[in-house]
């Protein structure tokens, strides 16, 4: 199996819990990971299986007793054994080592309870109808081997379960099952999974409220591919950079790649926190993500200035240096090389695309950064608000270096996929942002225009007229 499809030691993974909540973990060998009420498992037990596998946590009776005792003494959940599930919805209550899984997603229990054809006689009196108190349920959770039993008890105690329609019975069971089942899915920390993790943590404001569909279209419109050198401003905590790296190099590093991201940041240091969840080596990131502050980018140090502060020694001179001084020398050398690189990034490169996700005033920022973008290369700008892109578009539209600025919105509308009950989900997250897309172009030069003038004509060509003809 290809390593990038496998659960590997030392890598980060995203765990999807029964509640459809997300958790990011590093898989350290010989450790345990606790999922709170959903149990705990040993990392070693899941290593080597394919990413995407769903594991069920099983406690045998003896474990169960230990758990009951232990929970009284300390908070730590003991690790159970894991079993592979073929489906997140098929939770089995058979023995831990048996493989006779019964797919309960069809909820055969429903048939065994009386159900009403319509919910004509069901009145919603909220929680009163559930005769088990939360305390009783918690007690059951402590006692039960599986969530199944709790649910069976809850159905028994549910005063009007048989008044519900089969449909709502199924819904009820599914919800309860998810609540008490002990399983988890191990996913690769893709940019989408990471974004989902932020959304789940209610922390997506940190990523400028980005949606998966906006992220996807940014990468496509910016024509991100393995061999490009991209200029980027990223106020999403590094998610944009993370997704660009993924599109360029795959989830973990392949050797000898030449694509690069030049990240321009507003503060003294860049915020690319989310890269810590990636499975690239530090060195790989250093090689492919170059960071530079806005000031260094627009006002890079002079070569003379840098050289006046440091001169690399010749090989011979270096040899003669006392070894206790070499450390200091190499520190200075690194600073020197870094300064020269900054000069390079700021002055020499012509970029293959500009990707901006920033809350800075966009007209200034985009106009300035665009001077460094090569002709016929895309400029893509994300914003949480359409109004800021509108302002930007008007500015770009009035500048001949930008072709066809367009504001885009893309929204994903998920469906309930229960056959016989297909419909779009009743509610979904608002937000997700907007995208401005245009092409960097090179306006025709005055003298090129002049060359086109017929000898007989004398009227001079006004700038205005060029403007007027600008294609929409």
């Amino acid at each position: 199996m290809a390593t990038h499809k496998r659960i590997n030691i030392g890598e980060h993974v995203v765990l999807r819990l029964p509640s459809n909540n997300f958790k990011v973990c590093e898989l350290r060998a010989d450790t345990e990971i606790s999922l709170g009420k959903f149990g705990a498992f040993r990392v070693n037990d899941i290593i080597g299986y394919p990413l995407g596998t769903t594991f069920q946590i099983c406690y045998d009776k003896s474990f169960e007793e230990v758990e009951q005792k232990e929970t009284k003494n300390k908070a730590k959940t003991p690790a159970g054994n894991v079993r592979i599930l073929s489906d997140r919805l098929s939770v089995s209550d058979s023995d831990a080592n048996g493989d006779s899984e019964t797919d309960l997603s069809k909820a055969p229990e429903v048939a065994t309870y009386l159900s009403s054809e319509t919910n004509k006689n069901l009145i919603n009196v909220g929680n009163k109808i559930q005769k088990l108190t939360m305390e009783e349920i918690e007690e059951l959770k402590k006692q039960s081997v599986s969530g199944e039993e709790i649910i069976a008890k809850m159905i028994e105690a549910h005063g009007s379960f048989h008044h519900k329609t089969v449909h709502s019975q199924e819904k009820y069971l599914k919800r309860k099952k998810q609540k008490f089942a002990k399983f988890f899915t191990v996913e690769s920390p893709t940019s989408s999974a990471l974004l989902q993790y932020l959304i789940d943590k209610n922390d997506v404001a940190r990523a400028l409220d980005l949606s998966q569909e906006s992220l996807g279209i940014i990468l496509s419109l910016a024509n991100v591919r393995r061999n490009g050198t991209y200029l980027c401003v990223d106020e999403t905590g590094g998610l944009l950079v993370y997704a660009m790296l993924e599109r360029m190099f795959g989830g973990n590093a392949l050797p000898d790649q030449d694509g690069k991201i030049i990240l321009v940041h507003e503060n003294e240091h860049p915020n690319i926190d989310l890269l810590k969840f990636s499975n690239y080596s530090e060195e790989f990131i250093k090689d492919h993500v170059k960071t530079i502050s806005l000031l260094d980018f627009f006002e890079p140090p002079g070569v003379e200035e840098v050289q006046s502060a440091f001169t690399p020694l010749s090989h011979d001179a270096l040899k003669e240096m006392k070894s206790n001084r070499k450390g200091a020398y190499y520190r200075r050398l690194r600073w020197y090389e870094n300064q020269l690189e900054i000069i390079d990034l700021a002055t020499k490169l012509s970029y293959d695309g500009l990707v901006v996700g920033s809350t800075l005033y966009l007209p200034d920022l985009v106009l300035q950064l665009s001077t460094k973008v090569h002709g016929s290369r895309p400029i893509v700008c994300y914003s949480q608000f359409k109004e800021t892109l509108l302002e930007l578009s008007h500015v770009l539209y009035g500048d001949l270096r930008f072709l066809a600025p367009t504001i885009l919105e893309t929204r994903c509308r998920p469906y309930q996929t229960i056959r016989g009950k297909l419909h779009p989900l009743m509610t979904m997250r608002g937000g997700g942002g907007y995208i401005m897309w245009c092409q960097r172009v090179i306006p025709v030069q005055e003298n090129d225009m002049a060359a086109l003038e017929r000898p007989k004509t004398t009227e001079s060509l006004e700038d205005n007229e060029v403007k007027k003809q600008k294609v929409e």
Partner: protein
């Protein structure tokens, strides 16, 4: 030489370029010294383009006029290519294609199946990112057209795109040496061995994906997560797809729609209430004379004097016109105040297709010995530190 996978600095003979005439008129053309690109604004000589950087605006004097015509010469990208296609073609548009690529977790490691090829525009987007794309087209003429296009565009030479003529619903996805396919062309693969597709991403744009899905098990990666997307315009197709997906062990099934909207940046004149009132005041003042006349007339009426002599004086039309009414005002005219507004396209693409995603891991297992070895290595590494 690929026109899609290499970033190019300058326009060179033999290049495939795009001429951007207007938003609705983007045309691919081949740079040939001595030839011209003709538009109704004028004829643009390729020689005037060669050597200029991509993205250059090219001017031409419009025949028999003192005006200039302009085009921009762009290097093609999958998205610009999509724009350049005639609208009557069935295309997977960028809001859909970009989302699908993201959801299929398409990266340089991915081995992607696409059926059918159709206009080929999505194939371009896949080939930009994927490790390998296996595209299938059952319509023979379209297959030939797409194959030629992929060759012209350098996708075949890039080595990561294969196109095969095949009815996948009937015959599955396995590529054999006897097939009509680009696979064995320019490839080092032995022509007597069936191809191992080992796909981990599948995109089905077929009228009956349920006929193709059962064939997938033979060609998808084993012991690894494979993600599938079916692209179907009708909800009944989704329903049938859901049925077959469940039957064939696909999980995490989700259907979505992508709604893309495009906005234009426009300006609306700011028309202040005070200006409107001033204009009405101006009108009223001009009529004031009329009121005086009205009073006189009434007095005369009461006094039974003759009123016929009072000819109604013509009321001049107001000249005070704060909003430039009557004259045609250009949007953004600096003599007026403007508010920036967005305007959605006049005709929006309200529906393209339903996207049904699912994933599958065939035969989950691990190599216990290998895992033990790896664990031991980590432990050794730790104790060495």
């Amino acid at each position: 030489m690929s026109h899609f996978s290499q970033y190019k600095d300058t326009i060179q003979p033999g290049d495939l370029a795009l001429a951007w005439v207007s938003r609705d008129n983007v045309k691919p053309f081949r740079i040939v010294p001595g030839e011209s690109f003709n538009t109704r604004y004028g004829s643009f000589e390729h020689n005037a383009m060669i050597g200029k950087p991509y993205g250059s605006q090219i001017a031409v004097r419009t025949k028999g006029s003192n005006k200039f015509g302009f085009i921009h010469v762009l290097q093609a990208t999958p998205e610009l290519w999509t724009i350049s296609l005639p609208h009557r073609t069935q295309i997977v548009y960028t809001p859909d294609s970009s989302y699908i690529i993201q959801r299929l977790q398409c990266t340089s490691r991915s081995r992607v199946i696409e059926a059918g090829t159709g206009s080929g525009s999505f194939s371009h987007a896949f080939s930009r990112t994927a490790g390998h794309l296996f595209s299938f087209e059952f319509h023979e003429v379209r297959y030939q057209q797409a194959k030629k296009e992929f060759e012209d565009h350098g996708l075949i030479a890039d080595g990561n795109v294969t196109i095969t003529h095949r009815d996948v619903c009937q015959d599955g996805f396995t590529i054999k040496p006897t097939d009509t396919t680009s696979y064995y062309e320019g490839s080092s693969a032995h022509p007597h061995v069936a191809v191992t597709l080992d796909a981990d991403a599948v995109f089905l744009d077929l009228p009956a994906p349920w006929d193709a899905i059962p064939h997938l098990d033979e060609v998808i990666m084993k012991n690894a997560k494979v993600i599938l997307c079916c692209f179907s315009p009708c909800i009944e197709q989704v329903d049938k797809t859901l049925e077959i997906l469940e039957k064939h062990g696909w999980t995490d099934v989700e259907t979505v729609e992508i709604q893309g909207r495009q906005y234009e940046a426009r300006r609306q004149m700011v028309r202040k209430l005070d200006d409107a009132l001033n204009r009405l005041r101006d009108v009223r003042e001009r009529k004031q004379v009329g009121v005086e006349r009205r009073k006189r007339m009434f007095t005369k009426l009461l006094n039974e004097e003759d009123t016929a002599s009072e000819v109604r004086p013509p009321t001049e039309k107001t000249q005070f016109n704060p909003f430039g009414k009557g004259s045609r005002v250009k949007e953004g005219d600096t003599k007026f105040q403007w508010k920036e507004v967005t305007k959605v396209e006049a005709e929006i693409k309200s529906h393209t297709s339903y996207l049904t995603f699912a994933s599958k891991i065939g035969k989950i297992s691990r190599n216990e010995e290998e895992v033990l070895r790896e664990l031991q290595k980590v432990r050794d590494g730790k104790s060495n530190n």
